[in-house]
Symmetry: C2
Subunit: 369 residues, 2 copies
Amino acid sequence: MSDDSATLPRALEVSLGERSYPIHIGPGLLGDPARLTPFLAGRQVMVVTNTAVAPLYLERLKAGLDDGLEVRELVLPDGEATKTFATVERIWDALLEAGFNRRCTLIALGGGVIGDMVGFAAACYQRGVAFIQVPTTLLAQVDSSVGGKTGVNHPLGKNMIGAFWQPRAVLIDTDTLSTLPPRELSAGLAEVIKYGLIRDAGFLAWLEETMPRLRDLDAAALTRAIERSCAIKAEIVAEDETEQGVRALLNLGHTFGHAIEAHQGYGVWLHGEAVGAGMQMAVELSARLGWLDADEVARCRRIIASAGLPLAAPAAMGADDFLARMRLDKKNLDSRMRLILLRSLGDACVHDETPPALLSEFIGAFARR
Amino acid sequence: MSDDSATLPRALEVSLGERSYPIHIGPGLLGDPARLTPFLAGRQVMVVTNTAVAPLYLERLKAGLDDGLEVRELVLPDGEATKTFATVERIWDALLEAGFNRRCTLIALGGGVIGDMVGFAAACYQRGVAFIQVPTTLLAQVDSSVGGKTGVNHPLGKNMIGAFWQPRAVLIDTDTLSTLPPRELSAGLAEVIKYGLIRDAGFLAWLEETMPRLRDLDAAALTRAIERSCAIKAEIVAEDETEQGVRALLNLGHTFGHAIEAHQGYGVWLHGEAVGAGMQMAVELSARLGWLDADEVARCRRIIASAGLPLAAPAAMGADDFLARMRLDKKNLDSRMRLILLRSLGDACVHDETPPALLSEFIGAFARR
């Protein structure tokens, strides 16, 4: 992974039998009817986006929808704090008011919040209708738009209510990153780094050297980072769609990260920022268990920092704040706390044998640094 | 089907590959641990019921749960008007407050409203957890507890939001019918008659002669009616789980019926009452298309009446009231109105070629009778 001129195929596939779907990645895809038309279930189409994305890309997307379709649009408010049931109910209200039937198609145009909510709305509208992901943030492009996890937050936990519901297609127009705020670019890079940490040490090394170009929005570097991230995700999802096993590895840093997001109030930290700090916690806990050495810990620290991500949890969060939230994590089974840790860089594992006292002491020490 | 001493096997199966599950039917099953234990996903169990059923059967059910389980209970208000998102959110709140994880099991103890809501809560809690149906009304026993349709109502349409999510088991204790109000027994008989009309003329004939015993709660007759109904439903669901084809036949009378329920306000007419009147409408429309003769129409009328069900729509409902609601029916695709009609007694079909003018005229005439 050191020569970034090598081109990967531009249409990856998520292989799930009858529910397989393509991921199209590249510049200028947004207004191209050939990328949307084959994936519509019928004539009724509703594009759902938010107030930040609509002025930038809604018209361009609609230009890719053929005449003769019945196209509606719904513009929702922006932000993780809006990822609630009340917002999803607005989507259902709009669909019913428009008289949309089971053969309608929803198009999610926006970041991870829009994608998760629209996917969940599609999963439950009339017990399931078609949807297409058109992610416009790096985080959504490399992670949340692929794999069919949909849902909303609950005051007691992130993504606690949702469904596995696969899109018909994912359309990633890399041009949309030109308008992404730097803070959101960094948040997306957290998930990109995650793929290197859990499954591809070569990709991690490439990221280490390419990070400045990624943050400068170098188109070729970004395309390559997105392609490799989506390829790893597609591979893992195809192996384990509903997270009975290996898919859990995609949650590296997320158990700690979700605790931070919930504790701070959704939207205060971006999801990717919380995952950045959470990954460093997972790296350091892995070192405590003797799996990584000090040099590797320092290297992870440099990579995460170079992406512009936080390395520490909020100062006011103590061990108990973390543990109370972490007990509700979806990965836990019965009373065991399950964490994703690293056996080595590029090789993650599910671990549920961290002694509770060690975990508590580790978090306390980490938080007080 | 004229000798009701013949015994059918008491554990039917819904055959859906890895998601296959048994339907246990008989007296005295409620407190039997052998009927529940094998179907629990883990130690955490939440029994969800309502204020009408809890005093009658909650303790009996709990006696069938082994010591050592972490059992919680949630008692919701009663009635179709409670089948809303707000009520499902109460289930999720209770699960999160109890710290229940992905290996928990929900048990739905009650009628169709409880079963539909608990199933939907299970489908979406942490993207899907196990649940068991323990239906206590005839309608739930013969219809809604089998087949995995779950969901809630929306002010603009019945069951508009939901999921296909199969239970791990269905446990039908026929003793629970002893406390069922006569009006609810009649409502359940509507769905029993439906199975005869759509798929088994012999069963319809048996029902015609046995109706007085069914309404007198004759245990053997009820058991047989439930078994035959569940067997037909299991067969159809196994053929077409997500209603791409033949499963739509189970909606005989439901398109008209749902319009009545929504127009009157959920809970004013019982679902089965609306289906009773709706089936008679479907029968008479089938006759208008030349598929049934006057004797057959009169026979259906007698059978539906003998179950204690209404034969006419509410006097205040005109053709437009019906048509506006029916356009939102989930079976419709694009602009065609799809109806379930009868080619003959015991043989239903999906029909989307009723001329709109004829349909409108027919409904108007039916409503004014």
